[in-house]
């Protein structure tokens, strides 16, 4: 204590965040501020980002508790579009259920569900143009489903079977689907963020009209790539939409370890002078509206928008995870923003465009479609049961042309298999 400047002060202490509930705890989410639907204003898409900072701290919501669409953010979608969104979300959920079970049955090594977060992917996909480019994380399978990717194709990838267009090279769910405007998913978090910016900058440089959109989890915002991406985007006013899926959890660590105790994730945008919105991620209409708004900004050279989707990860992080070890089992049932599928269903019923029977029939149809797709996919094999890609494919695609050392190694592998009598 060599300096008078602090001689009277108590010692410092380190603050380490702690989530409010742990296994066994009673959950009370009363402290989560849920503004009424329709309350947030909708600025003109040409307004400067600095004129609506408050939107980074509130919550854009369209669907109220009675299932009505209210306020300036109501995207006024046709019933057909609403039903299509509902079906895509339901289908995503059915797909997740089935593939989760397939993993449990030993048919593959790994799976990740998006349960509870379907709106974030599906409603965004409906708001974007079909050839806008998506740079997703691993939890936006809803985009592929909304864009009509064949389910069996996704399953082939999950099974790493001989129908897998990625030749069994990638972990399950690490899809790549250029034809569906869906960038190759990386195992390394947030690397897609600057890539999306680069794609968007290229589109702008070429005088194209397509924009890019990217997604990451709230935990992943801590990576340096996030910052690089937002910096590039603000400097060059790149036509890109940054989605932060704040589902409260990053494996076992809660959003406080990414900075949620001090401010919102949407507020990150303000730091860069970028447009920022905080959206009820379980409200498909709000997600759609926010995406559409951000897309319009991007398309008119107003630059990037960051959207925080406030939602909840209903299931484990992946099939390797057991969330009951670190969070209260009550959390999801107490989640104040409900279930996106239920909320859209309610809305459609409220406006007289849907009913319980049609919903049940749709659920059944989704289950059947998934089942049929699974049957089709399993004809190509499941993981570890021999029906994989030819062994030589392992050496292809490292480079455009195979150099001598890979040719030699390929031959070595073939010789090995001969030696082993297989």
């Amino acid at each position: 204590m060599t300096d008078a400047r602090r001689s009277n002060l108590p010692p410092l202490s380190l603050h380490v965040p702690e989530p409010r509930f742990r296994p066994g705890d009673e959950v009370d989410f009363g402290d989560i501020a849920v503004p009424p639907a329709g309350a947030a204003r909708r600025p003109d898409t040409a307004d400067p980002a600095s004129s609506f900072h408050e939107l980074a701290y509130s919550l854009v919501r369209v669907l109220d508790d009675e299932g009505r669409a209210v306020g300036p953010w109501d995207p006024r979608l046709s019933p057909d579009t609403l039903r299509a969104m509902l079906r895509d979300m339901a289908l995503t959920r059915a797909f997740d259920e089935r593939m989760f079970r397939a993993q449990r049955q030993g048919k593959t090594s790994f799976y990740m569900k998006s349960t509870g977060e379907e709106a974030v992917a599906v409603a965004a996909a409906h708001a974007l143009a079909s050839d806008d480019m998506c740079f997703p994380s691993y939890r936006q399978q809803g985009i592929l489903i909304a864009r009509g990717h064949p389910l069996a194709g996704l399953m082939n990838q999950i099974y790493s079977n001989k129908g897998d267009t990625l030749k069994g090279r990638q972990l399950p769910i690490m899809y790549s689907a250029r034809d569906y405007g869906f960038f190759s998913i990386s195992g390394n978090l947030t690397t897609q963020y600057p890539q999306a910016v680069g794609w968007a900058m290229a589109s702008a440089a070429k005088g194209d009209s397509r924009i890019a959109a990217t997604w990451c989890g709230e935990g992943s915002t801590a990576e340096g790539d996030f910052h690089s991406a937002l910096t590039f985007a603000t400097v060059y006013r790149a036509p890109v939409i940054f989605n932060v899926v704040n589902n409260q959890w990053a494996i076992s660590s809660f959003s406080g370890f990414a900075g949620a105790e001090a401010t919102t994730f949407a507020a990150r945008a303000i730091g860069y002078g970028i447009a920022g919105l905080r959206v009820d991620g379980n409200d498909p209409l709000a997600v759609h509206a926010a995406t559409q708004w951000a897309a319009e900004r991007a398309r008119t050279n107003q630059g990037p928008t960051l959207i925080e989707h406030f939602t909840y990860r209903a299931e484990g992080h992946s099939t390797s995870d057991d969330p009951s070890a670190y969070r209260s089992a009550q959390e999801y049932s107490h989640w104040p923003l409900g279930d996106p599928v239920v909320r859209l269903k309610q809305h459609l019923i409220a406006i007289g465009e849907w009913d319980a029977e049609r919903h049940a029939a749709m659920d059944l149809e989704c289950a059947e479609r998934v089942k049929a797709a699974q049957k089709e996919a399993e004809k190509n094999g499941i993981l570890g049961h021999g029906m994989h890609q030819p062994f030589e494919t392992m050496f292809e695609g490292v480079f455009e042309e195979m150099p001598w050392h890979l040719k030699e190694q390929c031959q070595q592998m073939i010789d090995e298999r001969k030696a082993a009598g297989i």
Binding site: V16, S160, N188, A222, E223, G224, A258, A325, F395, L406
Partner: protein, 337 residues
């Protein structure tokens, strides 16, 4: 003596060191309340509190940068990188900072940090949960690289690493966390139950850095290996009845060159086995050293058995993995004449 698998031994090393030295702290993604995705830090937060064992934001750059700063303050941080495949965002902080701090400041500041990270494949982890990037770190002056192959070594080496005043990259072969892998993916997995290396003292002990272990003495050929491959090699030579001398390097930098030279001079043949991709892997350095130092004792060219120069493919991982067949073929070749 207790019986521990490798996870338990690693956990015990941190436990022992945290009890002995209040400056030891543990940090990383999911290492706190939850105890790590592989459970290596289980129980430590409950025992030592949140200021000494805590979760971090998901930024490997930040984890190592913060650890370097803590080390400069006087702590002895033990950061975990959840998978070695995710260590790259931290590379600048490791190479330009941790590894260089003592040198560039003439020991004004040091970085006594031990970076734990599970590495290696064979668990159907695909391209990004299977890599063996040790060859990147062994090239960096100022870093030590340690890789254990048994629970006993894991604990003793980890304690030595934590006490070491230089930055240590401590790669944990995740394939053998629960048992010594024999290399046959299609046979039932072994546990550590009957392995002598799983007898682990409860308390404090060290296995010194920089010392290799002769796992099995032999006359026909010297096999240099580390981590998972020690067990795969041992099973293979047993199955083939080859009288190989197996050297478990344990520390890659600084290397136990004496043990290597002595063995190769005796056997006249040297084979190197690692799981990492071949080109520029640590096997290249070993091969170069052996040739430089034992050339006139060599009766056959040094042979490398490695993973292939491809990413670690998900479904074909057993074709990638340098298993018994690849090792056996190489043995045939090196013992030929």
């Amino acid at each position: 003596m207790a019986h521990m698998n490798m996870i338990q031994a690693i956990n015990s090393a941190m436990d022992v060191m945290m009890a002995r030295d209040p400056d030891v702290i543990v940090m990383g993604e999911d290492v706190g309340y939850f105890g790590g995705v592989f459970r290596a830090t289980a129980g430590l937060q409950a025992k030592y509190g949140k200021t000494r064992v805590f979760d971090t934001p998901i930024t490997e750059c930040g984890i190592i940068g913060v650890a370097v700063g803590m080390g400069a303050y006087g702590l002895r941080p033990v950061p975990e990188i959840q998978f070695a495949d995710y260590i790259y965002p931290a590379l600048d902080q490791l190479v330009s900072e941790a590894a260089r701090l003592r040198y560039r400041s003439n020991a004004d500041f040091i970085a006594p940090i031990t970076v734990r990270s599970p590495f290696g494949g064979g668990i159907f982890g695909g391209q990004t949960h299977s890599q063996s990037p040790e060859g990147i770190f062994t090239h960096v002056s100022g870093l030590k690289t340690v890789i254990p192959s048994t629970p006993y070594d894991a604990k003793g080496l980890l304690i030595a690493a934590i006490e070491d005043n230089d930055p240590v990259i401590f790669f944990e072969p995740k394939r053998i966390y629960n048992g010594p892998f024999h290399g046959h993916y299609d046979r039932p997995a072994r546990t550590w139950a009957d392995h002598p290396g799983a007898e682990v003292p409860e308390g404090y002990y060290k296995v010194p850095l920089g010392k290799a272990a002769v796992v099995r003495p032999g006359e026909a050929v010297t096999i240099l290996c580390y981590g998972t491959m020690v067990h795969v090699v041992a099973t293979t030579i047993e199955e083939l009845g080859v009288d190989a001398e197996i050297i478990d390097l344990r520390t890659l930098v600084p290397l136990d060159i004496e043990a290597i030279e002595e063995s190769v001079r005796k056997t006249g043949r040297c084979m190197i086995v690692h799981e990492a991709t071949r080109t520029g892997g640590f096997g290249a350095e070993l091969s170069a050293l052996v040739t430089e130092r034992c050339f006139y004792h060599l009766e056959a060219p040094v042979e490398r058995v490695t993973g292939f120069d491809t990413p670690y493919p998900h479904s074909l991982e057993w074709a990638y993995f340098p298993g018994p067949v690849r090792i056996g073929e190489a043995l045939k070749k090196i013992l030929k004449d």
